[in-house]
Subunit: 136 residues, 6 copies
């Protein structure tokens, strides 16, 4: 079993809140993350794929192709954006790191299969102290 | 000559734009940073002070006191906030990292003097690839 | 399957030795780590939990609650302490990183269950070159 | 289940190309990595072993012994070397990070068993954005 | 006084040796770095400029412009290359990190002046344990 | 002006306290760092030297020689030791990071001069959030 991982980065604004909650309840549940004027992060995204090594090239996957895919499907849509307002694949979901990891998985699973590999893990760092890993 | 540095961190949303510019000009000058719906960063703040070592304690400055000061004057006012809309000490300034470093200097210079040390440098990381240092 | 990880840090002194060994044998087995006058580390602790995402909040676990728990159960009891002499949950165990990871697991497993999640992994860095992962 | 990991580092030159390909095809498949005059990396190697904890020492494995083993079997043979031309255990293989991880596994699996533990994972970082994990 | 720093990265092969030295003398002076078959590094380059803040934009320098400049003048010429054989601006110089920092300074000093700023420091990391800073 | 920096690391136990203070006063001034049973850190030491580049070798200083010097004069005397009890060059001084940086400067200044370079800065990291720089 062999995995290869590519790191990409993006910066975005977001907010955690529920419109049906009162301001007090939002503050109680989501703390400072519920700030109505947004806050933001430098996110780090680690995409891990598994597969067979091509005996011809020695590659599990061509990392240039994987990087291009991640940029087209994820980074260009979320970098320097507002996750709540502008990111199509996060529409209708709480902008938590957990949901972000799941949504990124959904965006990448099939295109990675089309490249001949299997998506194994999406890891998203929200800060140096917190990260989420989703395995599908 | 001796310096001691304390690192603190904050997350915030911001936007670079000029209201008097057209959208095209804002995009041309500020690129993706002009996004009207904001984006954000995990900022790292390094506060460096100089001074004399207290022969009794071996300290240039009590780092607990310095950390408390930075948190009260800076972190509590900017963490999980929108720099353009909510941060008093950034009012009327472009929310660039350069201006952020200068404004933080202005907030900390006198209180650090009151603790018996001299502010030497404010260093602000906006991303792993960019940082600003201001020396007053 | 989804995991979320919280990092916390602590500094502590420790020593690796067996009272029934001679000084020579302690030195031979434990090297410099057997120094009778102690040495110490900046430990990094990564606590990974698994579970279901609450559709209401988008959270697997409230990280503020998890952080508070780790601080109360672990950090307050070990930070700036001597692991051999002062840490209740390490009593009677060799102060190795392996045993530290296991003891931290035992302290956190039930309280994390009480928060509605499942402890998945305790990872302890002793230095930038060494870490232990315990999965229960 | 418990794992312990040791990090070691090496610097090496390499090149990705197939002698039977034309220069154009090499460039197309391997990009800049096919440069005939070589390029190089600071590689990071993480060796993870699993096993039982010796109740006497509290150790899964003596890290000094593990480090010595990795240095003798891997680092001394690859550090400051040309992976394509000089590294015995990479002879006849494409010098990809994937193949490097597999070859290092083959070099270490038995000697680690002889130390009483089981090799669990070889992780090789080629750059801060790319790494491979091999699990045998 | 205010500085802004941009980090860029490149990978390259190199060798330290003097053709007029015997192999023994090369080995004695340059150690493993004299390996005739090359070795290589992931270099990190930090370019620090100083200047005045444009009151209109809040920028000392447009980092996009600075990054583009560094890529055109340095990265495209050295990334995935052999420093001894292929890098025009290193011709005739020992491929030490010191000389690399000086040569990069010479390449960037005037173009940065043309952008309206002043080059303050070139910092080059060769490994996590070694770096050079050149101030002109 | 050109500087080169070498990083070395050491782990040590220490305690901040004054025997003439009461326990209460020690706790008030030094906080958790006054723990009578010690605590410890992974220290990082950065030694920066300045000088002229040898046109023959391209070196400001031979880093192997500098590393050997730092290990002999500092690391072997402080690594895995108790700074208060066992480190000759810290005798009679408070074991603060400030005093540690000054004492290391005193140990290295002349031997580095004997190698033909000039010590420029001693930087000591006590944790990821705190460091001291001493310039003589």
């Amino acid at each position: 079993m062999i995995h290869i991982t590519r790191r990409e980065r993006f910066n975005a604004a977001h907010r955690l809140f529920k419109p049906e909650y009162s301001d007090e309840k939002n503050l109680q549940v989501f703390g400072k993350c519920s700030n109505p004027n947004w806050h933001g992060h430098n996110y780090e995204l680690f995409v891990t794929v598994s597969g067979e090594i091509d005996p011809e090239t020695g590659f599990l996957i061509n990392l240039k192709g994987l990087s291009k895919l991640i940029r087209e499907r994820i980074i260009e849509k979320i970098d320097h954006k507002n996750i709540n307002l502008e990111v199509e694949f996060m529409k209708g979901r709480m902008a938590s790191t957990e949901n972000l990891a799941i949504a990124i998985w959904e965006q990448l699973e099939k295109p990675i299969l089309a490249l001949g590999s299997k998506l194994h893990c999406i890891k998203v760092y929200e800060s140096e102290n917190n990260y989420v890993e989703y395995f599908g």
